[in-house]
């Protein structure tokens, strides 16, 4: 165990992937300077997907929390933003404060809901999302089904707003990726993986399973809330049935399943694949959705490790290794 940790610390010093990541980040930061509106807009959507995928992977891939109710925090994030702007906060401040608010709300929720496990937990989270949606719909500001628009966003110049949303999305994605990277290498990250593999055994060696899962849950709630805010900043329209829609969780599930559950790079690959599929085939409506379902089934049955799982087992290359998978693999 101790030597394992020693090896992990050593790997942290190897900067190859980090340099590549910085190069990509620098390139992405500069995109609005040379790319057109359409590209900036589409990449912002990709960032929302990336955030969602990374958050769902943290939950399901590392902490063993299979959630079908993450849209609760996506929708709640948007709602808090709408409410805070109504209270007079400038929009971009409202996003930040609102996301923190969602994280705070997620703490008592996690304490109650993480007592459940497996299917019960999944269903409870879905119910939670529906209950939150219904509660939000009772707010007269939201006007039931109809929703409201974040008109404050119209005070910004369109190009400036588009670029600001883009950089906000990029900052959120890179920030959450860095946070996830260090979280997974921390003691809590190791404990989470132990819990995911066998919760009883983890408890028996003194891991506080509840506390560890809570940390992951609250971080994922925060990330999904940020994603919900960026999406709202881009679309402006807030409609409870859309923002609390189950489709957001279905997207997350698809991206993580296709990319590779429990791998660091998996959700990134999955989000890019999903984004491209949507760009190319999205116009087919129902057929496109059926196709997505088929792909998910094929991956689940034939390539359960997803794209990154397959790549890692074939090549042994584990980008941004969390120190566990690769070490295990290298041992005969």
């Amino acid at each position: 165990m101790l030597t394992d940790i020693g090896q992990r610390r050593e790997r942290l010093a190897i900067p190859g992937e980090a340099y590549a990541a910085f190069a990509i980040l620098a390139l992405l930061i500069a995109v609005p300077l040379f790319a057109g509106n359409a590209a900036v807009d589409k990449l912002t959507t990709l960032f929302v997907y990336l955030l969602l995928a990374v958050m769902w992977n943290l939950l399901a891939g590392y902490a063993g929390i299979v959630s079908v109710g993450q849209q609760a925090f996506f929708g709640l994030g948007g709602y808090f933003a709408v409410r805070l702007v109504e209270a007079g906060l400038p929009p971009y401040w409202a996003f930040f404060v609102g996301a923190l608010g969602v994280a705070i709300v997620a703490i008592p929720i996690s304490a109650a809901i993480l007592r459940l496990k497996g299917g019960e937990l999944a269903i409870a989270l879905w119910v939670l999302a529906e209950v939150l949606r219904l509660a939000v719909m009772f707010d007269p500001l939201v006007q039931g089904e109809t929703g409201i628009s974040l008109l404050a966003m119209n005070s910004f110049d369109p190009t400036f707003r588009r670029n600001l949303n883009y950089w906000l999305g990029l900052a959120a994605v890179s920030g959450m990726l860095v946070a996830a990277y260090f979280l997974l290498r921390s003691k809590i990250g190791l404990s989470a993986k132990a819990i995911r593999d066998d919760e009883e055994a983890a408890k028996s060696i003194g891991i506080d399973a509840m506390r560890v899962k809570q940390v992951f849950f609250v971080i994922a709630a925060f990330g999904c809330a940020i994603a919900g805010m960026i999406w709202l900043a881009n679309t402006i329209t807030y409609q409870p049935r859309t923002n609390f829609g189950i489709q957001w969780t279905v997207f997350m599930l698809f991206m993580v399943l296709v990319g590779g559950l429990g791998t660091f790079a998996g959700p990134i690959v999955g989000a890019v694949v999903f984004f491209l599929l949507q760009e190319i085939f999205g116009n087919y409506g129902a057929w496109y959705l059926a196709g997505l379902g088929l792909i998910a089934i094929l991956f689940a049955s034939m390539l359960p490790g997803g794209i990154m799982g397959y790549v890692q087992s074939k090549t042994g290359f584990v980008p941004f290794s969390d120190g566990m998978t690769q070490n295990n693999r290298k041992r005969p």
Partner: protein, 439 residues
């Protein structure tokens, strides 16, 4: 020769290629391509036409490809605006009946299609996200077929305050039209004037509660409101029992359309439908297809209509009278006319009028300014943005109608105009009768 219509989105060729290859995709794809003999260079006004053309709201866009063909034929020589002639190119976008998709399609088209104007119609779920995208991007937008209150207040405007919208304009009926219409229509048959109200928890439902119900009470009706409920409810026992015990001979509802057949079947099973003399649908009952799904339970149901082939108006963009429009649609598309055909024709009429009146149709500020002062004749009657209820909105009229079993012809249902109190230019075509189960 350039295309008048093409589907929105980049990678057009690739996508069309895939479209041809994908089995069954034809059924879902957006309308056919139409050619026009004009449109050159800067002289072409590009208009994005976004609406639901597939999915649950797909019926709203059923006549769109037909309409666009007619416009292309009628305006083959372009539109005169000032001392110049402009070609018109319509770029179609399909929301797939999904508000998320609607917002995305609108943004994509604004970003990559070099549009001068966006037009959209059919339900707040379509109109609001598209209008928001346009408002945020500084793109002029004209829309119809969503009660104007949903468009205006549903997007965050406040009563009594100046309009927060600079780029988006909307024409449609609103709650005020219902008051005039219902007071007249419900007086045409003998009832106890007790009205059961079924309105969900959404902007329409809340607007009805706040504005319509007090006025109906003032007009001498007794209102029994079953209270807000959730769209998609499958059990209406509580509401039906309330209306039965209160002996509501008039029933008035504003449901999410698929909820109405569920309610009405249960009402018939529980004996409430047998008590009802006037069953007034709003939002539901717009399309014959909905009535056909109800079968004989649908004979004699009452509704309001925003268009009918017997409207005495001409659609300026297609050059057809309302009657010709319906007949041509039935001939070309092979399906019975529907109200949205006329409404979307009026949207195109208003678009052409706005282009004609703009000082420079290629300039967005000039186009928005033309929309704000637009006054023109359309397939649904005159619209006048200078005398709207609020800035950015103009109202249109409603007629009272009754669905009856067709006496002849290929279609099961006919729609009689029984009240014109809200739209006096339209002639009444039949005497309203009480609802009786099974007609």
């Amino acid at each position: 020769m350039s295309k008048l219509v093409r589907n929105a989105g980049n990678g057009l060729t690739r996508r069309n290629l895939l479209k041809g290859a994908a089995l069954g995709a034809a059924a879902l794809s957006v309308p056919a391509t139409v050619r026009s003999a004009f449109a050159q260079g800067d002289g072409t006004v590009r208009v994005g036409f976004i609406g639901p053309r597939s999915g649950p709201l797909g019926i709203f866009g059923e006549g769109d490809s037909f309409l666009v063909e007619q416009v292309g034929r009628h305006l083959a020589d372009g539109i005169q605006s000032g001392d110049r002639r402009y070609g018109l190119q319509l770029v179609l976008g399909d929301t797939q009946s999904d508000p998320v998709r609607a917002a995305q399609v609108a943004r994509d088209m604004i970003n990559s299609e070099n549009l001068d104007l966006v037009i959209t119609s059919s339900t707040p779920e379509t109109v609001n996200p598209v209008a928001d995208a346009c408002e945020a991007a500084g793109m002029p937008c004209l829309s119809t077929t969503a009660p104007w209150e949903s468009f205006y207040f549903g997007r965050g405007a406040r009563p009594g305050e100046p309009s927060p919208f600079r780029w988006t304009y909307h024409f449609c009926f609103g709650v005020g039209n219902f008051t005039r219409l219902y007071a007249d229509q419900w007086s045409q048959v003998e009832t106890n004037r007790r009205v059961g109200i079924l309105a969900p928890n959404d902007a329409d439902g809340n607007a009805i509660r706040m504005m319509l119900l007090p006025e109906l009470e003032a007009a001498g009706f007794t209102i029994i409101d079953a209270g807000p409920y959730e769209n998609g409810t499958t059990d209406f026992t509580q509401q039906i029992n309330l209306f039965r015990s209160e002996n509501c001979e008039i029933f008035n509802c504003f449901p999410f359309p698929p909820d109405f057949p569920v309610f009405w079947r249960q009402a018939a099973q529980r004996g409430y439908a047998q008590q009802v003399k006037v069953c007034q649908m709003a939002k539901a009952g717009l399309f014959a297809a909905e009535l056909e799904a109800l079968g004989p339970l649908g004979y004699g149901l009452h509704a309001g209509a925003y268009w009918h082939p017997l409207f005495p108006f001409t659609s300026s963009s297609t050059g057809l009278t309302c009657e010709m429009l319906a007949a041509a649609h039935e001939g070309v598309v092979g399906k019975q006319w529907n109200q949205q055909l006329g409404a979307n024709a009026s949207l195109l009429d208003a678009t052409v009028a706005a282009i004609a009146s703009a000082s420079d149709p290629k300039d967005k500020t000039a186009m928005a300014s033309a929309l704000s002062m637009l006054k023109c004749d359309t397939a649904v009657g005159e619209i006048d943005f200078t005398s709207g209820p609020v800035a950015n909105c103009a109202t249109t009229g409603l007629v009272g109608v009754q669905w009856v079993k067709a006496e002849s012809g290929p279609y099961e249902f006919d729609l009689n105009i029984v009240s014109n109190a809200d739209h006096p230019f339209v002639p009444v075509t039949g005497q309203m009768t009480s609802y009786t189960v099974q007609g």
